[in-house]
Amino acid sequence: MITTVPEFLAHAITLERESAERFDELADALEVHHNGDVVELFRKMAHYSRLHLAEARDAAKGLTLPHYAPWEYHWPDAESPETVEIDEVHYRMTPHHALIAAKQSEERGHAFYALIASTCPNAEVQAMAAEFAAEEQMHIRLLLDWLKKYPPPGEHWAEDLDPPVSVD
């Protein structure tokens, strides 16, 4: 249970940091696979997460935050919620897919904050969580807007006529 502000901020910082790092990782992966459009999008998402991270860090200035091992966090699930899962990407994915994946992760982030905002006994934490939740909500709306520009690709989006390569 998250009850104190330091506890909450420790979670928020990790959530945003891991989110940013994951977006960067995915961007790197797609860069190696020459999927420029998606790289750009993921970089952008990483940027937004980093802005959030900075906010959370600002809020934590002067506080001593508890240390959690990665597996000790009180996430709804075992993993940090606003992190796109590794296997949600594909080298042929389109911006549409990237936006969907990003949106889902933001939704999980939002749900996490919203839950704390509604259940945490500590009012200060509640307020902070609500604020974070609202920002996530904004992101989700933003992503929905973008998505309009990137309608679902045809059913053959993953098609690659070239066979996989044997590299060793």
Partner: protein, 282 residues
């Protein structure tokens, strides 16, 4: 056993990112190995091991590409020989934390003998096997953990017709002191297992179910199959065997945490070479 205490509470000097190199993985986007890399760096950060005190040895395969993606001392050796390289390193340099990483083909097919004997030797190191039940790097052939009826390989178009091996049983039988299974889709659990493996004395085996999205796309479904049944480790070999006899291959957690003495060569440093030469004198 690692000399660094596992419950570091001080302000971390090394973040997970400090354990990454600048080199971008060539893995297929979506590959489970990404998540093992990320879990490994988290685990090391948790242990606050200085990167230069850790060596990561691997063989050949997609998974074996891991070392170059870290900021550790790495040895990307040859197919199947990661464990001997690591054994020599640890025996010669007991002060280092030695990790080994690789695939199911590398570790259980061509490297099967070293696997058996590394477990048996129970030298203090941690072996992370990214098991995708396939040879990813050579275009998708069956590995020792592939089910007999998998027809996805051109080498065995009718399926292999032979049962998969049970690496954890073999590790347990041969004498590995810490045995765990985890799933790449749960990087924090992977990190935890790696952390515990490093802290456990002797040989630690961590089987990571790590989907190959290219040749075994159906492995994306592992998510639904894994179940964290082994939440408390057992310390009794027999009990651990019983667990395995009911295993469906998807139970995760620490199977076994034993009490075998790790192999530890003990140089005595008592004589000089001149002393030895004297023995040849008439």
């Amino acid at each position: 056993m690692n000399t660094i205490p596992c419950d570091v509470t001080a302000e971390p000097t090394y973040s997970a990112n400090d354990y990454k190199s600048q080199i971008k993985p060539v893995w297929c986007p979506g590959c489970g190995d990404y998540s093992v890399l990320s879990a490994l760096t988290k685990a090391l950060s948790e242990l606050q091991l200085p990167p230069e005190q850790v060596a990561l040895v691997s063989g050949i395969g997609c998974s074996s590409r891991l070392p170059a993606y870290t900021s550790l001392y790495g040895f990307h050796s040859i197919h199947g020989r990661a464990l001997p390289v690591a054994t020599g390193l640890k025996a010669a340099r007991p002060d280092l934390t030695v990790l080994v990483a690789g695939g199911d083909g590398d570790g259980f097919s061509i490297g099967g003998n070293h696997f058996l004997h590394a477990c048996r030797r129970n030298i203090d190191m941690t072996y992370i096997v990214m098991d995708n039940a396939v040879y990813g790097m050579t275009k998708g052939q069956a590995s020792p953990t592939t089910a007999p009826d998998w027809t996805g390989s051109k080498l065995t178009p009718e399926g292999t017709g032979i049962e998969a091996i049970h690496p954890l049983e073999i590790a347990l039988s041969a004498g590995a002191n810490f045995i765990a299974r985890t799933f790449a889709g749960q990087p924090n659990h992977v990190a935890q297992m790696i952390c515990e493996g490093i802290c456990a004395p002797g040989f630690s085996l961590i089987q990571v179910l790590s989907p190959c999205v290219t040749f075994r796309p159906e492995q994306r479904g592992y998510k639904e199959q894994v179940h964290q049944d082994w939440s408390t480790p057992v310390t009794d070999r027999k009990e651990a065997f019983l667990r395995l006899l009911d295993d469906d291959g998807f139970a995760t957690g620490v199977l076994y945490r034993g009490n075998h003495r790790p192999f530890h060569p003990a140089p005595d440093d008592t004589l000089s070479i001149a002393d030895l030469e004297k023995r040849f004198a008439l």
